[in-house]
Amino acid sequence: MKSKKVVSLIATAALAFGIISGCSSSKGGSSGSGGKQVIKIATQSPLSGGSATLGEAIKLGAQLAISDQKKAFAKKGFDLQLVPYDDQADPKKGVSNAQQIGSDKSILGVIGHLNSGVTIPSSEIYEKNQLAMISPAATATDVTDRGLKVVNRVCARDDFQGPAGADFAVNTLKAKKIFVIQDKTAYGSGLAEAFRDAAKKLGADIIGYEGITVGEKDFNGVISQAASKKPDLIYFGGVYAEGGLIIKQARDKGLDIPIMGGDGLDSSSTVQIAGDSVKNVYLTSVAGDVTKVAAGKKFVDAYKAKFGKGVESYSSYGYDATGVLLKAIMSAIDKNNGKLPTREAVSQAVRAIQDYQGIINKVGFDNKGDNKFAKVYIFKFDKAAYPAVQQKAISK
Amino acid sequence: MNVLEVTDLTKKFGGLYANTNINMSIKKNSITAVIGPNGAGKTTFFNMITAVYKPTSGDILLNGKSLVGLKPHQVTKFGIARTFQNIRLFHDLTVLDNVLVGMHHHLKSNWVGALFQMPRTRHAEDNAKKEAYQLLEYVGLADLLNESAGNLSYGAQRRLEIARAIAAKPKVLLLDEPAAGMNPKETKKLTDLIHDMRSKLDITIVLIEHDMKLVMEISDYIYVLDHGEEIASGKPDDIRNNPRVIEAYLGKGAVANG
């Protein structure tokens, strides 16, 4: 009996100390290299799970922006650092991370999240900590409609992207009968709903509105249903993992009609999964084609050189969002006579930004935190290659 | 007076008859043995009485009330407790807790009472524990009250099963091969215990047993089953000399030769 108890005690102690020793060295000092004051920027995006490709892009974009501006901050006596957090696309994890981010006083701003479902609860914590958040990708209307002071985004809202897609589908592609599929996530449903409502208003006939299960590989049932109803266009609200397969399986069923999706399809993985079937696929994205402008080409090259992979849709927005944040921090530093500004000052400075020249488009926040200059871009895949060809840019 | 009346009890598994038209009348405060070769359907018979199996046809009456269609725990409440051929104790519970579980149906305590530590519940629990301890003393396991039941020796486990069964305050106690695996000394003590239970606790006992010495010594009345059918019944002496019984046990030749 006695020995059992001792064993269990030792086992527990070993486990606990194992835990502890693991993070004993993780104590972040408040002074960085060369006695400079540390300014940290946190990113929160899914680095694991089904949308990791997109989450990773945000992180890398931010990383590039920070390494670009490290010198400028060093001149002022600050050491700029990035702390990436993995929210696993899980609201609970996001909130818990947000608490940790909030408690690290050297963090002056957050870039993230990818998913609106995670952004909404986490931003409540940022608000309490007066910590500025700029999302490159959360498109749900609720993100900014709650009127939080610290919440901003550089991308367009669902109620802009969805209708813009609907407009293109109905008026440009002349689709009369549209079949809508969505992935039953906050992102996919939000977008698909906005698209559906707008398309209805424009006079299109929505002949089906079906949900699929994220993580599955066989969508033939829904596609058969679609095929039998002979639509002019299929719209998919969701991300590439399912989108790519839906495109492929629809083509296998002889559906050579245009298929349209949102920014969740704006990834190299879509092409990888769908292969040649990706031809005649349209997508709306809140991020434009970076290669269209000179600054963008430079960005693409720098990104490739640094990380060894091509840009994804949100790479540039991750970069821009970080750029906006850093600009705000810089101006807050200047206002504070070169000393470390407060979080409050930074979040005010972020909201005050009216005219920041990003890689593709400008950034300027309205009183809710939405980007006044946000645009929606329409792309089309002509061949099995990423990125797709930009067709049109739509402003508000 | 008969406590337990079984009439035309039949159990069919698929196309196989495990018990066919069994009739028994068991007198109050008697010791009755059910014997028969392996596979004669003795345990099936016990299982029907305790509602583990539902009879295909026939009736079981306890003090005139039918038990057919009841759930096993209801049968216990009516006053039948049992032990098992392959011992079924609550291995991870202590010896005393095992006995306490036996008192489940007549223990006046419910979970609301337990939550709020109501005096009535507490009182009932205290008394139950004392009673359980006395039962352990009775079967000779009092020293082991805090031991896990699974750690007991074979003989002790058998006795604990009996203690647990009488904790349910049954009118009829069914013992399924209580002496299996016991040495002669243990068997002797078991015999004493069974006798004592009958005389002191006013319990009617029905037992399945292969140890003929024990059966002959202890029983008031014996039923013999073979191939699911009742082939003989009577006092020990009658059964000892019954040719059908000898045939069942030793085969046809045995009778012809003898």
């Binding site: 086992a11 502890i20 993780s26 818990s96 | 104790l89 337990a114 009092a142």
Partner: protein, 433 residues
Amino acid sequence: MRKLVDLFSQNKKAQLLLFIVYVAVTSLSLILAQQSVVAFLLLLFSILLLYFLKLNTKAKWIIGLLIVAVLIPFSASQGQAYESYMDVATLVGIYCAMALGLNIVVGFAGLLDLGFIAFFAVGAYTYGIFASAQASKFLHFGHFPLSGESFWIFILIGGIVAAIFGILLGIPVLRVKGDYLAIVTLGFGEIIRIIFNNLDHPINITNGSMGIASIAPPKIFGIVIANASQFYYVALAILLVVIYIVTRLEHSKIGRAWKAIRDNEIAGQAMGIPLVKTKLTAFAIGASFSGMMGVVFAAKQTYVDATSFTLLESTTVLVMVLLGGMGSVPGVILGAAVVTILNLQVLTEVSNWLNQLNTNGVISVPDALSPAKMQRFIFGLLLILFALYRPKGLIPAKNQKYDANKLKKSTTKSMYVEPQVSNDKKASGGSEI
């Protein structure tokens, strides 16, 4: 050396002294260090030490409560990471209560439930729907959202609704046994999640995959509870109630009945235990703990959607129970604390640390191996190792010991008057073990 250890394990005063020194040092370091996860964890660890001290139960409870309710919040509040620590501590509380609920079902009653998180979801949605504008979308009377004061009633309502779900699930499901039960509950958990994720049409009850946002924070005496440090006390209070209920029930008639049917269903029935009723009580009570904490969770997050209630979550709670020790209340609490902290704090911290080393070029660990992504790997390994080498968990379940002397001095008259065969019980009972 061995003697010294023995001596120390006997000496109450020395133990107590060392314990006090330990607590003082860790809480001081937590106060002085601006942000030290280590100090925080070490301070939490003191609870475990306390558990192994040779003190009487009451003293342990008082000391433990003082540490948990006063010392930890106080020491943590001196640093910047206050809210972060308290958030983790709140989640520890929530998961402890859930794990204790599951422990009733799995540990006591021996029913493997792989869909346990469904009840948490039920609780969370119950509060979420009525404490936000969501309810007005399908109810055409009453004013929604309900005010934050309703939170306190909703803790009860959430528990009751979850218990009802537990019974509804139990009635059909309990007809199957063992492995089948595991699969059916798993299926049921998934069904509940899918339904919550889809129930925005035909009637919009849960707002589907968009989730329910802007859930009213609780209010008491006009004070709005919005910070993790405040939720901590709510969670703690409920957890204490849960612990009280669990320990009381464990040593009551129903607790014995649960364990009896776990050990041997057929013998349990033969001893007069109504099988279905007993199992259903286990399901209902276990579920109600989960439901109560679901309410707290919804209020804390101010947002609920179905992504928080996946199968991985059910398994996480199961890991807690198994790691701590099935059927062991202190074990399960420890298991829940270890897993939650591991998940939320340690893995994240280690990943961040590795990442820092990566960016500074000290070492190069590929992203794929980041510990934060290894949750399944770690859980899987823990499950296998514990099942193989320590199936009874960190703190194995212990049976309540009875004092023979107390039971001997009987005042009541029993029907079993004099022991007959107990004369030579040594020979027949004890010696053969």
